[in-house]
Amino acid sequence: MRRGALITCLAVILGMSASAWGGEKKVVRIWHTETEPQSVAAFQQIIQDFEKLHPDITVKQEALAWGDLEAKLTAALAAGAPPDASHGQAVTCASFYAKGLLRDQEDIAAAIGRDNIWEAVRRQCLHDGKYYGIPHSAATSLLIYRKDIFRQKGLKPPETWDDFIKVAEALMERDASGRVTRYGLSLPGVGLFINIAVGELTAANGGRLFDLRTGRPTFTEKQVIEVLDFYKKLNDTVLPPGWLGHGYLDTFANLATGKAAMLYQGYGRGAGYIEKYAPKEMANPEHFGVMVKPHGPSGKETAAQIDAEPWMIFKNAKYPEEAAEFLKFFFKEENYIKYLHTVPIHLLPTLKSVRANPAYQANAMVRKWKEWQDMQYRYFETGRAKPTLIVEWDDLRLPFGLEILGSGIVPDMVTDAVRGMPSAQAAAKAQARAEELITKLGYKRW
């Protein structure tokens, strides 16, 4: 009797274990950079709907801070445990493509319609005619300013960097004792954002960061040195003294609370922060407007940065095919719109059909902050927006963008300049470091 019971128990345990092994789910790991709680929640909803259709798959999302992504991603790659799919900068996608790490996404492009992908973001990770990354959304950097004060002071939109400094100085405010109570500008001092700013300022100054033919850095060219001079002037006149220690969110806090009058590296998601943190009566586009970014002394046209991380799928990950299935599901209009609406002014649709979709248009924030959206569309449609550190689209063919981005060489160049080193010397120092890095990586072609 006792023996019988024991055998039954063992059989039940073995049976349960076997069914657990047999029914083990595939766990697809997805990393992304949309950390706002409503985005994480919407993404989770999409995951749950996907899992209902694919009971053998579990999708686990991890929302990472934008500035942390590349370092974590490469650490995971170094450890041999990359996620199945992840966001990444365009330069990251280019570097990973060059190293043969990515699965192509032609099937995803076919599923969502190749022609349906917005032309302005197609080249984010398109190599040899194939998609290796499709942006999860699109956005550009924005010059955001206090429209109400700007009007009060009767200022004109700046066209050049010199004009810009004059406007920023005019927007500054001091108390009776001469203490600054509102700075003209707020900039993030974080490495990633300095990389972004140097890229777009160089483009706005008619310059380049790399020689396309040889890949040699061109930091010592006049246009880049003028960028450093511009940084110096901003630092000496209109920026808060501790700006090098300010994060991206600090700059929005500065704007929303009236401590700064302008942001050069603002983004659409700032509309949400303004609605949350600015006084209620001021949280509207009448107080916080956007205007065209000025150009430098050697440039003729404006420039902005594209924030549109492509989804990358790692072919050596555990479940790349399942990740691709999930992304096809993610881009289905009914799911995709849910995601875009979590940060409506920042997450502009990658798919043309969605932009025209009434369900997408039916959003109060989209209507309220239309001016901000339109400015981003303007940068895209005039071709004046490029990804981080990219001045010309062909720069994406250079396989070492990721390493330059991560190395801190460009932010160090700016730090050296604003801390007193002559711009030409700071540029020469950075040039030498970048050349050495590229040489050591085995990409020297000059």
């Binding site: 001092g189 974080v190 501790g242 801190g408 160090d412």
Partner: protein
């Protein structure tokens, strides 16, 4: 005169047990071990069993300590991409490169500055707090619990908390400094000029409880009679501290300074989270941060490993010197 540690421990133990030197310890009713006759191979088999018994632990120790160190040294001799399977043996080239790399020397300097000031003030604050918390007062246990708080909370929480407090736009610290009339402008605690000071302050706050805990544990074992006798002899509190407390805690102080020095010199998380390596963070780019950057943002695993090996070598040399300088404390510790 030989110091206690220099003596052969066996006679002392024998003396304590009141038995003749050389006699083996035996249980009641057993013959002395020396009198037993063992087969010739028994001793060998016995040793083999012993070796086999400790083998798993030995393998684990080798795998978890020696192998990573050896692998790092090997890696430092290669020019290797961090995640791409390309490598080339370059001998000591990475070390030669670092010798001429100004970033390396700056990072080393930042690391020394950071370690020195944080250790100094952790010790001063930790010992002072331990002395206070060793006294009897109402609510002592509660205070003992509260002071451990900084050491218990995760580093990420501690750093975010301090970054809020120190923020030059909306931080509470600047608010109070201005409200109290200390300074006219807010101080950019996280800007290039003050970020090292902020990092040192945060680290002292975060890690002094370890010193406190270690010293307090030792203080509680000092016989009260020593202090009573000193009081009877008319010794002032300062003399009681210098002549009783300090000699009693010097052993643990030796260990605490050694551990904290190693930990602060190799501290990564707090430093990285405070500055993330660039912008103002460049001014707190210590050696561990630089090693991390070389490995995982420049993707030069060989150079990163060379930096790690150099850190290891610096610590070994400093530890040997430290042991040499404080031999007596080392014995007690």
């Amino acid at each position: 005169m030989a110091r206690p540690s220099d003596r052969d421990p066996q006679p002392a133990a024998s003396a304590r047990l009141d038995r003749p030197p050389g006699a083996a310890l035996v249980g009641p009713g057993l013959r002395p071990r020396a009198a037993r006759r063992r087969p010739a191979g028994w001793q060998q088999r016995h040793s083999l069993v012993g070796l086999l018994t400790i083998a798993p632990a030995l393998v684990l120790i080798l795998a978890l300590t020696l192998y990573p160190v050896a692998y790092s040294i090997w890696l430092s001799l290669l020019e290797k991409h961090s995640f791409f399977p390309q490598e080339r043996f370059v001998g000591l080239e990475n070390y030669r490169y670092l010798w001429g790399d100004p970033e390396f020397w700056t990072s080393l300097w930042y690391g020394v500055v950071y370690s020195f000031w944080t250790i100094l003030f952790q010790i001063i604050l930790g010992v002072a707090a331990a002395l206070i918390l060793n006294e009897t007062f109402l609510g002592r246990n509660l205070v003992r619990g509260i002071v451990l708080f900084p050491y218990m909370i995760p580093t990420i929480v501690a750093v975010i908390l301090w970054k809020w407090l120190l923020n030059d736009t909306y931080g509470v610290i600047n608010y109070w400094l201005l409200a109290l009339g200390i300074g006219r402008e807010p101080i950019s605690w996280l800007g290039a000029d003050h970020i090292m000071l902020s990092l040192v302050l945060v680290s002292i706050w975060q890690f002094f409880p370890f010193v406190l805990l270690s010293i307090l544990a030792r203080l509680q074992t000092i016989p009260e009679e020593l202090y009573e006798a000193a009081k009877v002899d008319g010794a002032s509190p300062l003399r009681r501290f210098t002549h009783i407390t300090l000699p009693q805690i010097r052993g643990i102080l030796f260990v605490v300074i050694l551990l904290r020095s190693i930990w602060m010199f190799t501290k990564f998380d707090t430093v990285w989270l405070m500055g993330e390596g660039a912008g103002a963070g460049r001014f707190i780019r210590t050696l561990p941060v630089y090693a991390y950057m070389r490995t995982l943002t420049y993707y030069q695993a060989g150079l990163g490993a060379a930096l790690a090996v150099i850190m290891f070598a610096i610590l070994v040399v400093c530890t040997v010197i430290y042991f040499g300088l404080f031999r007596e404390e080392a014995d007690i510790g």
